[in-house]
């Protein structure tokens, strides 16, 4: 019914929107949200390829499970880091986190 | 198909044939009937709340040596209807500075998350909304949406007490999801399926007999999920006014109220379905309508205990509540999960050599699991005994309550 191309184009647009968020957002939490959008678009791609090209196996689903685990771990550590920085420096702006710059 | 033994399926088939005979295609008729059925299940949930609110008020009153509602109808059974009319006619007050979208979305989310659980509720062998093959996970997912509604309500109200309630909600609901999920895995393990109706089908021996600890953990953590006493820290009126619902009035408050009571009955029904055999009982396979009766009898027995706990227990402190979760329920659930998995696997490895007749097999399995559960209970009690604090720790120096101050020297002389 729905050709594979629709899913791929949708995932590509979602990935680019997420990338825009990562590049442009000042707030570190906003950057993490952009990363989440990118990971979601990758998951759609994985499941779509599994469904359309390799639905006999289970590889696409297994990959998607790993991506879920990585996303959860990334958010937990990322938000912990942001809260820790906020406690020390009272800021969540990514540009202010420049202690390692010089 | 007999009308008296299975009225719901009978009406469904009759309606489907009627729709097809007036010229609607088979697929469209299925869609229409699905919508009607969803509406009926939802309305049924709401009408149950009308009854359970009365029941709980009556129980509450009896335990406090009062009579309770007794004016409207026999035993005051219609008391909820005037209350409903009152709450419909109240004014909506939207405070200044609230986030309008989130403020109005929160009550809807918290009611619909509970109502959506009824989609997988098995009323009888043939009367079930849908038996999705990931039903147990679906239950957990709906719990997450309910937590979201509470957090939104607390944040959007622009009130510090609401926000404190939301913080407590995150701490409580999200952390009590962990033992709940672990306890839900045990019926999945024992029944070899994740669909709720399939789990009821698999209970030739009730799971509460096979694993009473799992039933206890699920029951306790679901009460914590509903946010009722003794876990009602989200709305502790002596500390944070009314928590996340402080700024709500009229029907919006009413939706939170209905959501809470519906949730309380929903967890009772789930406990009945997952651990007490659901619609199982004598002749329930042949006459599905009997299964509905068994299911609701079991659900109301569990609900009686939920109400009893709410009425008779004092409120916990936040640190006690989190300690109870992370230091008691979660480790216990993990140990139980590993033990159940290992024992079940070992049972099926050993059993072919023992020549047990097929009729006795489920009971032998249940006995083994019950034994393991009892051992875990004994060990837990021993560990708790060795760690209990026997003396009260004195924090500060004892001070006399009222001592007359020394009179100044000028008065004495």
């Amino acid at each position: 019914m729905i050709p594979l191309s629709w899913y791929l184009i949708f995932a590509a647009i979602l990935f680019c929107v997420g990338l825009y968020g990562v590049l442009v957002r000042k707030n570190a939490i906003g950057i993490l949200m952009g990363i989440e959008l990118m990971l979601n678009s990758i998951n759609i791609n994985l499941i779509a390829f599994w469904r359309y090209r390799a639905s006999d196996g289970i590889a696409g689903q297994a990959f998607a499970i790993i991506v879920f685990a990585v996303a959860a771990a990334e958010v937990a550590v990322g938000l912990a880091l942001i809260i820790s920085i906020y406690r020390r420096r009272s800021s969540v702006v990514a540009e202010d986190m420049n202690l390692l710059k010089w | 198909m007999n009308f008296f033994s299975d009225p719901i399926t009978f009406i469904g088939n009759w309606l489907g044939n009627l729709l097809v005979s007036i010229g609607i295609s088979q697929q469209a008729a299925t869609v229409i009937i699905t919508f009607i059925a969803a509406g009926v299940v939802g309305m049924f949930g709401f009408s149950l709340v009308i009854f359970t609110i009365w029941l709980e008020r009556k129980l509450y009153a009896r335990i406090q040596d009062r009579i309770g509602p007794n004016r409207v109808g026999p035993w005051g059974i219609f008391q909820t209807f005037p209350d409903m009319i009152k709450i419909f006619t109240k004014e909506y007050i939207t405070p200044i500075g609230v986030d309008k979208v989130a403020y109005n979305l929160a009550p809807i989310l918290s009611v619909s998350a509970v109502l959506l659980i009824w989609a997988v509720m098995p009323f009888a062998k043939t009367i079930v909304g849908t038996d999705v093959n990931v039903g147990v996970l679906y239950l957990v997912a709906m719990g997450g949406i309910g937590a979201l509604g509470i957090i939104l309500a607390g944040w959007s109200s622009n009130n510090k007490y609401s926000l404190l309630g939301a913080f407590r909600a995150v701490a409580q609901i999200v952390s009590y999801e962990v033992p709940m999920v672990l306890a839900l895995l045990i019926p999945v393990l024992l029944g070899r399926t994740m669909g709720v109706n399939s789990l009821v089908n698999a209970q030739s021996v009730w799971f509460i007999i096979m694993s009473p600890i799992a039933a206890f953990i699920f029951f306790t953590s679901s009460i914590a999920e509903t946010g009722r006493a003794p876990f009602d820290l989200l709305e502790a009126e002596s500390e944070i006014v009314a928590g996340y619902q402080t700024e709500y009035s009229g029907l919006k408050f009413g939706m939170f109220y209905v959501g809470e009571f519906l949730h309380a009955f929903t967890i009772s029904a789930l406990t009945a379905a997952l651990f007490l055999g659901g619609w199982r009982g004598p002749f329930a396979e042949q006459i599905p309508i009997l299964g509905v009766a068994y299911f609701f009898i079991k659900a109301f027995i569990v609900y009686f205990f939920v109400a009893l706990i709410r009425i008779s227990m004092p409120r916990l402190r936040i640190d006690q509540m989190l300690n109870f979760n992370w230091k008691f329920l979660t480790p216990l659930a993990l140990v139980l999960l590993i033990a159940t998995a290992v024992v079940d696997k070992a049972f099926y490895l050993v059993i072919p050599g023992l020549n047990i007749s097929a009729g006795l097999l489920p009971w032998a399995r249940a006995a083994v699991h019950l034994g393991v559960n009892l051992i875990i209970v004994l060990v837990t009690v021993q560990i708790l005994k060795s760690h209990h604090i026997s003396t009260v720790k004195i924090v500060g120096k004892p001070r006399p309550v009222a001592v007359a101050p020394e009179p100044p020297a000028s008065v004495i002389s």
Binding site: V17, Y20, N40, I65, V75, V92 | D99, I151
Partner: protein, 170 residues
């Protein structure tokens, strides 16, 4: 146009609109709410792709855990950046340009690939897919090693998060 295609277009439009709002909204909590809507849209795509298990997992992990963590973090750090000033860099046009160029590049690769417009064949044994996935994740000749690595990663992330965000007691 079939019903599935109409559903796809509607859900895709809502999801993309929500995603754009995530990256442009000034209020961080609103961003998180839009993120929840976008994640719901992705869950519906999993249903359309015959992967209902992933739709439920998406709701549990992303909406029940990750989005709530985001809202929580935004509430904890809300005194700064609360709807004051622009939320984007001064070079936002450069970011937009890179995103558009990337999309153009991906699209260019897609149109030159002959498998682009494949349509799906019927899924064989849809009910047994969860069993198959579960067995694949724990059998040593399939995906046991990635599965164990993911669990170690999760434990490490948990310890790390507790250590980093926990209060240091003097």
């Amino acid at each position: 146009m079939a019903a599935e295609q109409i559903i796809f277009i509607l859900v895709a439009a809502v999801t993309l609109g929500a995603a754009i709002s995530v990256v442009t909204s000034r209020n961080l909590i609103h961003s998180a709410l839009w993120l929840i809507l976008a994640l719901f849209g992705v869950a519906i795509f999993y249903v359309l792709l015959d992967a209902g298990f992933f739709a439920v997992i998406q709701v549990i992990i992303y909406i029940g855990a990750i989005a709530i963590l985001f809202i929580f973090a935004a509430m904890l750090t809300r005194r700064v950046m609360q709807e004051t000033g622009p939320q984007s860099n001064s070079t936002w046009w450069l970011g937009a340009l890179i995103a558009v160029l990337l999309f153009a590049g991906i699209a260019l690769i897609f149109v030159n690939w002959q498998g682009f417009t494949t349509t799906a064949s019927d899924l064989t044994n849809p009910g047994g897919r969860i069993v198959q996935l579960g067995l694949a994740l724990v059998s040593p000749d399939q995906y046991l090693l990635p599965f164990e690595l993911a669990s170690i990663l999760l434990v490490a992330a948990m310890i790390g998060a507790i250590y980093v965000a926990g209060e240091k007691k003097q």
